[in-house]
């Protein structure tokens, strides 16, 4: 375990939870603006999980999921991903493509493109909120998308951070429109060296 991880005590977790709330709040507002749908959002759970327990984030490792990933650069390098279970990804496509609920049955090129852009918007809003609050520069690189076994996606995300054994902030997010909730998970993985920067920026000494 790295020094940065050990420094993550309860106070830090609380502060990061606040950061996460603000970030996801902005993300959902931007989605509402885009779709013209009055989304509400709740964060039923928030956790700091070590990357080797990443699997617990999803029910089954072999379940199909869709994830949009964006590397974060600038003052606090890291990785952000938004992961949706397959059925929720399909519902999100229904919504974005103005389809009947349940019409999207497969995630092909069109659907992946829609999900990539939606993920891009959500993640960018999330990062902007954090950057504004912490007064950091957090530009992101273009997004990538994967539709595959959830375990394979999570393991691939875990491997992008060179210091495995480090922790990710996982933010369970429930987007609710009038019909059915769309659940997704925000994963925010700061690089080990970035965590102290983030903590300092939000007023906590790392």
């Amino acid at each position: 375990m790295s020094v940065a991880t050990k420094a993550l005590d309860e106070l830090h977790v609380d502060a990061l939870r606040e950061v996460a709330n603000i970030g996801t709040g902005h993300a959902v507002t931007s989605l509402s603006t885009l779709t013209g749908q009055p989304f509400t959002m709740s964060v039923p759970s928030f956790g700091v999980v070590s990357l080797d327990q990443f699997a617990d984030v999803v029910g089954s490792l072999e379940e199909v999921a869709a994830a949009v990933y964006m590397p974060v650069e600038g003052d606090a390098c890291g990785h952000v991903a938004f992961l949706f279970p397959f059925d929720c990804a399909c519902r999100l496509c229904d919504l974005m493509l103005c389809r009947e609920l349940g019409e999207t049955k497969a995630l092909d090129e069109m659907e992946c493109s829609v999900l990539t852009e939606t993920g891009n918007i959500l993640i960018s809003a999330f990062l902007n909120a954090i950057a504004d609050m912490a007064d950091l520069r957090l530009p992101s690189a273009p997004p990538g998308i994967a539709v595959d076994m959830a375990g394979a996606i999570l393991a691939s995300l875990a491997a992008v951070s060179p210091a495995l054994g480090d922790h990710a902030l996982t933010i369970m997010t429930r987007l609710v429109d009038r019909e059915q909730p769309i659940e997704g998970v925000f994963l925010f993985i700061p690089e080990p060296a970035s965590l102290p920067t983030l903590l300092r920026a939000i007023g906590l000494d790392a």
């Binding site: 394979a152 691939s156 875990a158 495995l164 054994g165």
Partner: protein, 176 residues
Amino acid sequence: MGRAIMVGMAELKVTSDPDDVLVALGLGSCIGVCAFDAEAGVAGMVHVVLPESVEGSGDEPGKYADTAVPALFAAMRKAGASPARTLVAIAGGAQLFQFGGNVARLDIGKRNAAAVQQALRVQSARLIAEDVGGTVGRTVSLRCADGAVVVKTLGQGERELATLAGRRFSQLARAA
């Protein structure tokens, strides 16, 4: 199917119980290294996450290709396997995330595959089958009863990659 023993990220498992099936679920850029000595009936699997170890990290050896492969062979030997008889198959090392026009990023899968292959060469290991690279995640299992290595992918179902037994393998079998 026998008793499934999960081999999580960075884990290394060795068994000589013929009822056991070693399973690495949902390999993305990770690699499942399967080893089997048919005569001794010893099966081993390690779930490699990254190519190179960081000195003094105190991490489990199974995490990195360069430490995982020697550790797997040492554990197999301890369980009574002979390195000379042990046959190896590897699966995983995919690049799941697709970027518009840019595939150079997140190429950990490719680097993992190269590092595992290199580490196996160092051990003079008999790598007889591999299913690495590509863009899809895999679940790989190794049956201790007969050394059968089965790879499961999304959409393509299950497929037997190799059976790590017998002498009929003179050259490396590659996945179609």
